[in-house]
Symmetry: none
Subunit: 595 residues, 2 copies
């Protein structure tokens, strides 16, 4: 139930912006926000009022989302406006857009200044979030991404009751497939996109079981290579750049790839720390440099870490990266867009259809959306899970959120130090897929496969993500790692312009390229419940100390997620495998189910 | 569970002072405070910002205590700061001290002025207090002082379930015994201190049952008498001052004592109004004057009312005082520190050990601390008691708080007029025991018993409250009545200085006296849940009209407390007697217990 708005007879009209009185519909969880101002995550404040107002409302929305609340739960808003002019009320339009018809009780406070001289506008909210009664189940799964849904499915199939508690307003986690606004089925992927049908048997098994249609990734034709000096060249998919600006550049790229593949293959994914030697003592950059790679080779290595982890080679342990590749069979196989490779097939209706399909196989009412979990408390009764819309009492809990998000949950008893270190030190990178939609695959006309590989950025790699049969034609441009982060500081419209221009000047060089019909993106690093993508990565030393704690349970709480998988870490297949493992752990402890 | 603080990913860092969002951990009782400013109980406002901030936070803490809440329940703070300078933030340090690590959502509001021109700082809070589920019991006892604990003990012993709901964070009420900071067992009494082992059979029975050790009050040697003109004289304990400044002063003191004793003895404590004649029509001062006492005699009477009730002779009905003395056997016996007297024995580990001992005899989990009762509502279900951490449904309720505090509880149906009048017109006096700790009992070296009796004040009476066997040596100085109140307006450090000086210049006159090793006090009149001590007293007329209502029950709600006892009113013995009486009343109505 949303908050009740009350318009007492005999008081003046307040529509459409507010109401004189509000009330929660019953007992509720109470939420308060700090005064939200127009300052971004770095404290940067736009110098005009309109932009500050827009940013303050965006920040307020983020607070409300983080609290597992909704705009309709707002009981009270208070605005503080510097140099308020009652004849000019620029906050009203963004306010109405923010409220979407809800009318909380409101006070407007004209004020000479705010906490910092540059602040011109501040808004704070008080909310009441209706709470369900305590629900008792055998198992609570925290998170309705692929790993959580798979765990819940296996638990329910074994005969136990299971609730899936999800922070977002949708299932799927980082599988998020969106249609064009015309709803014609021209789906694109804001998150995870690729599978294969051979060594990714877990995810492909699900795809088959759910009867979902796939298409093969287009690799016909040439890749466009942009060199460190910006020069362009073409080479056939599967081949290598022939000549690069740096003397020996092309040879170096080949050499570092071969050495990396060799080092990968020496690692046992079930015991990377023992088999990885001293590789966890240095960064991937240090390792690559030690292998004699020059500037071009390092640029090539940077493409890998940017596109695969959203990070730079200096951010990650050499062991972490090599083990990560090995979990997908090795560098070459993981990076391949062809048969057996990591990017071989896509889903016509998008990968979220796997998550939606899995959720559909759960008992009705099992999935609880908009319910971020904030407390996981173990005592003799079992495990209490306190979430946005109410609490649960379970015998076992499976946590499927990414490792770095553990620290946003209050565990009682607290997590062991090793898990806390993993949560605090594992890094989530920056990958933004900017998807340019076109009316036709114009790049194919010049025998290009749609792949750009740029040592300069901001687009590190692009891929043809069309689904020809649906009339969906697109290039997905990976803005990732440090160049991606730099690019992300631009406003969205400028970001899009830069990407379109980069594609025009590389893939489109020497031809008239059409303007995109539409552009889409989702910056996962700014996403409340992802905080980055696709997978947390470890700096040097962390695996040696704590890798063994990654999958260990904490009392009656178990942990899954793609980074905990031995195979295909960071991929959907790894997520599904980890979910199955978590379910097995829990089922073993629960004894005979009440079937 | 404390309030949850949430740091939404993507918003700027707020540690250590606040968080962007807070939430109650579940459904909660909601508490709001007014803006608290730097004004004391009399409205006096310090003229500098730092002192105002300190006082505002102290006032806010009092609000939070009064609401049965904790700092960690705060969801939101709003500051209003006049002439705010973002480069100079003097509120931050006291804020951090106040919050002790909690980080509520916060808004800071610079403002040109506040409700009064002298206010420079204001802070308001919104809190959510977690609530337990409704608890159903046979009996709820409100208050875990001696009367309440005794009632609960008798009720449970009779086989009924009983919860004791206490506002404070400890049991004992006005029995509060504290150790020195070194924890060596040198206990002193901030509240009730004395018992005897003859006519205080109820309290002494408990002491014996609990196996608690007592010591005899020291009365060896001389009393130091300070006359109305400040002159000092000595007389042996049990004797009388021989020569006083006022002509006939010494004889008048003796005479008024004898007349008072005689008037006392004429009163039937079971029916004081009928046996007291017209004594309730006049104040004690009027009565003493009518008995021919001069200025010195009145000074002597004032010592009695100050030390026994914290009031002046003009504040109390003559009947009330005489009946009060008679309840302890008469003026002389009540005031005596020797065998059969009111101040004959003390407890080595302090009187709170009686309360703690009694509480320890209750069923585990019976006592609920930090839970002030605000509503007592009777309907066909029984009696609902709404307290700080949750509500109770009982068949009967026993209220043990002092009569003047009834008006802080919302009774439904309302209290009868007689009880309300008692609550509103009974007065709680001012007695502050300033306890000077010494390394040795230096006063005994001059054959002094440690008793000062001063007609001037601020110390009206002092007593040797040492426990020699524990190495605890102290003088307890009663600053009471009007001189005590005047003295209380000083800052604590100045108050202590004045008391030390008073003792030096009287008991220590003519000798080198050591400085105290430590000083302790508790101003019960400023205590939220006592509001004064030891016992409410009646002005003229109140007993005649309403004395019969003192012990009467109100529907299913019964009333105990030392002032409702026939014997030893204001003493621990009276408290225990009243508790036993309340339990008897309730047990009679409850029928067969489920044994």
């Amino acid at each position: 139930m949303p908050a009740i708005t009350i318009d007492p007879h005999g008081l003046f009209e307040t529509r459409p912006t507010f109401s004189h009185v509000t009330s929660s519909a019953g007992p509720a969880r109470f939420v308060a926000t700090s005064g939200q101002v127009g300052a971004d995550v770095n404290g940067v404040v736009p110098n005009n009022l309109d932009d500050q107002i827009a940013l303050a409302f965006a920040n307020l929305q983020r607070c409300i989302d983080a609290a597992g609340a909704s705009v309709t739960d707002i009981l009270k808003l208070v605005y503080y406006i510097v140099d308020y002019d009652h004849k000019n009320r620029p906050h009203v339009k963004p306010l109405l857009a923010f409220l979407k018809g809800h009318r909380p009780a409101t006070s407007l406070v004209p004020i000479p200044k705010l906490a910092k001289p540059e602040f011109l506008f501040e808004v704070e909210a008080y909310l009441a979030v209706p709470q369900r009664e305590l629900e008792k189940v055998d198992v609570v799964v925290v998170g309705a991404g692929l790993s959580g849904l798979k765990a819940a499915y296996d638990v329910q199939r074994a005969g136990y009751s299971c609730a899936v508690v999800e922070a977002r307003d949708r299932v799927g986690g980082k599988t998020w497939s969106v249609d064009q606004s015309d709803g014609a089925g021209r789906t694109v992927e804001l998150g995870a996109a690729w599978i294969n049908d051979t060594n990714q048997s877990e995810i492909f098994g699900l795809v088959q079981a759910l009867g979902l249609e796939t298409v093969v990734q287009n690799t016909d034709g040439n890749i466009v290579q942009q060199d460190i000096n910006g020069d362009l060249s073409h080479f056939l998919y599967g081949g290598q750049p022939q000549a690069l600006a740096e003397p020996n550049g092309a040879q170096d790229v080949l050499a570092i790839r071969e050495k990396t593949e060799e080092a990968c293959q020496a690692i046992d994914i079930r015991d990377p720390v023992r088999t990885g030697g001293d590789l966890d003592k240095i960064t991937l950059e240090e390792w690559a440099t030690s292998q004699g790679g020059g500037k071009t080779a390092l640029a090539s290595v940077a493409i890998w870490t940017r596109v695969m982890l959203g990070l730079e080679p200096r951010d990650v342990s050499a062991l972490f990266f090599l083990d990560y590749c090995k979990s997908g069979g090795g560098l070459v196989q993981t990076r391949s867009d062809q048969k057996n490779g990591g990017q071989y097939r896509r889903l016509v209706k998008g990968t979220q259809s796997i998550s939606i399909g899995l959720a559909g196989l759960l008992k009705s009412g099992s999935v609880h959306l908009n319910s971020p979990v904030r407390i996981i408390q173990q005592n003799i009764d079992g495990v209490y899970v306190t979430a946005g819309k109410g609490s649960y009492l379970a015998k076992r809990v499976i946590v499927s959120v990414p490792t770095p998000l553990y620290k946003d949950i209050a565990f009682q008893p607290p997590l062991p130090a090793a898990k806390l270190e993993l949560s605090q030190q594992n890094k989530l990178g920056y990958i933004n897929k900017v998807i340019l939609r076109y009316g036709y695959p114009w790049w194919r006309q010049k025998n290009l496969c749609g792949m750009l590989q740029s040592f300069k950025g901001p687009v590190a790699v692009s891929r043809d993500t069309s689904v020809d049969g649906s009339g969906q034609f697109s290039l997905t441009c990976f803005c990732a790692g440090e160049p991606g982060l730099e690019h992300s500081k631009l406003q969205q419209s400028d970001r899009f312009k830069v990407v379109v221009e980069h594609i025009k000047s590389t893939i489109g060089a020497g031809m008239v390229t059409p303007e995109p019909l539409g552009i889409e993106e989702w910056e996962w690093s700014k996403d409340l419940w992802a905080q980055g993508c696709p997978c947390p990565a470890s700096p040097p030393g962390l695996m040696t100390q704590f890798e063994s704690a990654l999958r260990s349970s904490h009392g009656k709480v178990h942990f899954v997620g793609t980074e905990t998988s031995y195979e295909w870490k960071g991929y959907m297949d790894g997520a599904v495998r980890s979910g199955a493992r978590g379910a097995r752990e829990v089922i073993q402890t629960l004894g005979n189910p009440k079937l």
